[in-house]
């Protein structure tokens, strides 16, 4: 077993604000690793640095043995990602979204059609593959994003709050595929979530991050034991406190609200 994700002494500052402060952790090949923390703790910032779209202030990163800052292409080929926010093109069909992804990853046309078909069947969207994504429900979009992230057969799968806003059926389906991937194909999974019982169920190891620092790390059982609590949720609250975190709304959130109002008016 090799180390698929290595983070050493990682720091990200935005001016005076320290979003991620000297964190270190390692994820083994084929493991399912849960990265937990309250809103604004630094989870997404860490994922952005691991996935090459944000430069760290300092520290060492290795993804599949490559450096996300200097070996961007090698790192990018190694992982698939389901972003926290939807990232599909609504004006294209499900199949076209898959096809576009395949083309960006340099997969030849015939091969990408074959793989897209197989993956769309896996997530139960083969029948609706010619529909525009704008006609999809939230759960269908999420499943499509998971399928898309797997199209180029990545060694690592990043999932940033993959099950947020989904019904229990869809959540179970999604975790079902992900556990199969890890068990049968040795894919390493790195996810964040606010649903502690999900993390307890699927994650081998978890790390809890708060105010940019890792406050606890280990199996869910170890965390419960350390904090002397019955559930991972209680352990999480014991570690991070009861205070409610306010995350500043980004311009993206404002735009989404505007777009939602606009769509509502048109209907």
């Amino acid at each position: 077993m090799s180390e698929m994700i290595v983070v050493r002494d990682l720091v990200k500052n935005y001016g005076d604000f320290c979003a991620v402060s000297h964190i270190s952790f390692t994820v083994q090949e084929g493991a399912i690793f849960g990265f937990l923390g309250p809103n604004g703790a630094g989870k997404t910032t860490t994922i952005k640095m691991l996935t090459t779209v944000l430069e760290p202030t300092s520290g060492t990163l290795r993804v599949n043995g490559h450096d996300p800052v200097h070996e961007q292409k090698k790192v990018r080929r190694s992982f698939g990602i389901v972003f926290q926010d939807p990232s599909l093109d609504d004006e294209l069909t499900a199949f076209e979204n898959m096809d576009l992804h395949g083309a960006l990853y340099g997969i030849p046309r015939g091969e990408r059609a074959r793989r897209a078909q197989a993956l769309l069947e896996l997530v139960g969207l083969a029948e609706r593959q010619k529909d525009f994504v704008k006609q999809y429900s939230g759960g269908m979009k999420r499943r499509l994003e998971v399928a898309r992230a797997l199209l180029h057969q990545p060694r690592i799968l990043f999932l940033d709050e993959p099950t947020i806003g989904l019904d229990p059926q869809t959540r179970n389906h999604i975790w079902g595929y992900i556990q199969t991937l890890s068990k049968e194909h040795g894919v390493t999974v790195f996810f964040t979530t606010h649903y502690m019982e999900e993390a307890d169920r699927v994650a081998g190891d978890v790390a809890v991050i708060d105010h940019g620092k890792i406050v606890a790390q280990g199996t869910p059982a170890v965390l419960k034991q350390q904090t002397n609590t019955p559930t991972l949720e209680d352990a999480f609250i014991a570690l991070t406190g009861h205070g409610i975190r306010d995350e500043e709304a980004t311009s993206a959130d404002r735009m989404r609200r505007m777009a939602a109002v606009w769509r509502g008016r048109r209907r």
């Binding site: 990018r76 990232s87 093109d89 294209l92 076209e96 576009l100 083309a103 960006l104 340099g106």
Partner: protein, 248 residues
């Protein structure tokens, strides 16, 4: 190459699939064409300057292109807000390929919109001097498209949300359109205005288009081409650079 092609194709698909947008963006040029084309025609003729409708058609085509092109470029902001940009930025292709795909796609879309405006002008009575120079006109339409898609891309890479969009339209695109030779001939305007016209790339684009369609260049076809090629290369480079600096 594959990445450039697929991103280009994406924009074309989005364009042809939204007839509302195509027809909607025709509205403004048509209003200008009808109101000015017919309204100023008699004054223009009495001044001995010829057929105003024919004169203004290249300007109106340029208008259709400019607005569509800037909007295509600025669509980066929407893609950023709605997440699709992230999907392309984590793919193992260079930012240059992504930006070239986007700009090329946007430029082709703007050109198609220009062609639609052109068709409307033909319906309302525009007459070619000769069809032979149509390829030259297409070259100029493409260059204007490329120039303004690049400008849109540069702006879209820097702006965080659509709030700044009216600012761009009212303080950049509108002045560039009105302080050009799109609506009136350069000859005989006050010196200050003439200087502004000469500094404005739109003047050269419209002049090239007008030359090709009606055989009346104010400058020469070489000057027009040179100005547009050089400026679009510079702006495409700036746009690509700013795009490559986007951090999410």
């Amino acid at each position: 190459m594959r990445a450039i092609y697929i991103l280009c194709l994406r924009q074309l698909k989005r364009y042809v699939r939204s007839p509302a947008r195509i027809v909607g963006s025709l509205g403004q040029p048509i209003v200008f064409l009808l109101a000015l084309g017919f309204g100023l025609g008699s004054v223009f003729r009495r001044a001995g300057a010829g057929n105003y409708f024919n004169f203004v058609t290249p300007g109106i085509i340029a208008m259709g292109i400019m607005f569509t092109a800037v909007f295509s470029g600025i669509e980066i902001i929407w893609d950023r807000q709605f997440g699709f940009l992230e999907e392309t930025l984590v793919a193992p292709v260079s930012r240059l390929q992504i930006v070239l795909g986007r700009v090329l796609g946007g430029a082709i879309v703007a050109m198609l919109q220009g062609a639609a405006v052109f068709a409307v002008c033909l319906v309302f009575g525009f007459r070619f001097a000769s069809w032979l120079l149509l390829p030259v006109a297409i070259v100029f339409m493409f260059l204007i498209s490329l120039l303004f898609t690049s400008i849109g891309t540069a702006i879209g890479s820097v702006l965080q949300d659509m709030q700044g969009f009216p600012l761009v339209m009212n303080f950049l695109v509108m002045p560039l359109f009105f302080f050009s030779d799109a609506l009136f001939p350069m000859k005989g305007v006050p010196k200050v205005l003439e200087a502004a016209l000469r500094l404005n790339p739109v003047t050269y684009g419209v002049d090239g288009l007008r030359g090709a369609l009606s055989h009346s260049f104010a400058f020469s076809v070489i000057t027009d081409l040179a100005v547009l090629v050089v400026l679009s290369s510079i702006l495409l480079s700036i746009g690509s650079y700013l795009f490559s600096k986007i951090q999410l």
